[in-house]
């Protein structure tokens, strides 16, 4: 392959990554559900130590997650095994979003978690959550509850 063609191919392959990361940096909060890097970290996203795989899971904040919490929803975080591919993991959000108890959901591949917000007067047991994950083709290793609601972002 000649040099020009190779360079063109490399540009073509890396351009999506550049565009994606540039979009993340300049992104303003919008209803699309993309994760937001906000300076206004709340008690859910702060921790006594850095989030790591073992203590894992902090709620991933998106505009939908924030909105559901602001409406009185109950946030919780599910640690999911084998979440290595976005195309496959989308099944989790599809399955959970079908549940009437779920106000918002988001998969975070970096944290290997599923962030959920349940409607204020609803609940899902750990067993039900595990079963729903199985329906999506996954297994969970834990459910974190009892997080306090965030401050409204608006």
């Amino acid at each position: 392959m000649n040099k020009s063609l190779r360079n063109l191919l490399l540009i073509f392959l890396y351009l999506p990554a550049v565009i994606t990361k540039a979009a993340d940096i300049g992104e303003a909060p919008h209803p699309g559900g993309h994760h937001t890097d906000s300076n206004q970290l709340n008690e859910i996203t702060q921790s006594e130590g850095s989030p790591d795989r073992k203590t894992g899971a902090f709620l991933t904040r998106t505009s939908q997650i924030d909105s559901a919490i602001a409406d009185g929803g109950k946030p919780l975080v599910v640690d999911v095994l084998g979440v290595v591919c976005d195309f496959c993991a989308i099944a989790l959000t599809k399955v959970f979003n079908q549940q009437k108890e779920v106000a918002a959901s988001h998969i975070d591949l970096n944290k290997k978690t599923l962030s959920l917000v349940l409607f204020a007067n609803s609940d899902l047991t750990d067993e039900k959550i595990a079963d729903l994950a199985v329906q999506a083709g996954y297994r969970i290793s834990g459910v974190r509850r009892g997080v306090r609601p965030t401050k409204p972002t608006s």
């Binding site: 999506p16 084998g82 976005d86 195309f87 989308i90 599809k94 399955v95 988001h106 083709g137």
Partner: protein, 215 residues
């Protein structure tokens, strides 16, 4: 007689196919549309997932070299899935039962057709390895055994909702072909529910274009 027939069915089910599907079984109640093309044929499959271990679909395939089509009912079974913090592995068995028809200048009569195969894959956030094979019995349209191995990596890690890009190379083997082994580099893109693969078979100078859409 019965023992040899069972052995034949066993070998067909366990040694066959060239489907490169991503997630051949979706979530419970989910549907998927898959279009695939390789150096010999083009196919379309639509399948519905009845359980996390089983999907059933309808598949149509067109053999561009021999000018015949195959229409089948296409079940897929998840035999085993391995979960880790940073990896996932899958082993599937699948088959097909239907009819082959001659088209264009192929005037052979319709013939019942059966195929079966294995798909296996292992992947992390940045590496991918898969194997697949298929044995096809299509009466006077012929019988074939095909297998392929694919390796891929991603030049960057994307998160949920990003455009993901993977660079892959596939080596496939068809013993009865003029070129038994061929190599196909390709690029896989996916975002949300859509996956697209674009490649080029270097040995037979044929393009490859696949897509999968999860409903």
């Amino acid at each position: 007689m019965r023992r040899s027939l069972l052995a034949q069915i066993f070998s067909i089910v366990f040694f066959s196919t060239v489907e490169a599907q991503s997630r051949p079984i979706s979530y419970l109640g989910g549907s998927t549309i898959v279009e695939e093309s390789d150096r010999i044929s083009t196919s379309v499959l639509t399948h519905y997932t009845f359980s996390p271990e089983f999907s059933l679909g309808l598949r149509a395939e067109y053999n561009r070299d021999e000018h015949f089509t195959i229409q089948t009912i296409h079940p897929t079974f998840l035999i085993k899935r391995w979960f880790g913090d940073d990896y996932q592995g899958n082993l599937y068995l699948y088959g097909g039962l239907g009819v082959a028809n001659g088209v264009k200048d192929n005037y052979l009569k319709n013939k019942s057709t059966i195929y079966g195969g294995i798909m296996a894959d292992w992947e992390t956030r940045s590496l991918f390895l898969s194997y697949r094979s298929r044995h096809l019995e299509a009466g006077h349209f012929g019988k074939t055994f095909i297998q392929a191995i694919r390796f891929g990596f991603t030049p960057y890690l994307g998160n949920t909702g990003d455009l993901h890009t993977w660079l892959m190379v596939e080596i496939d083997h068809r013993a009865k072909s003029k070129n038994p082994a061929t190599i196909t580099p390709m690029v896989r893109f996916f975002k949300d529910s859509l996956l697209v693969e674009i490649g080029y078979n270097l040995t037979e100078t044929q393009p490859l274009i696949n897509f999968t859409y999860r409903l």
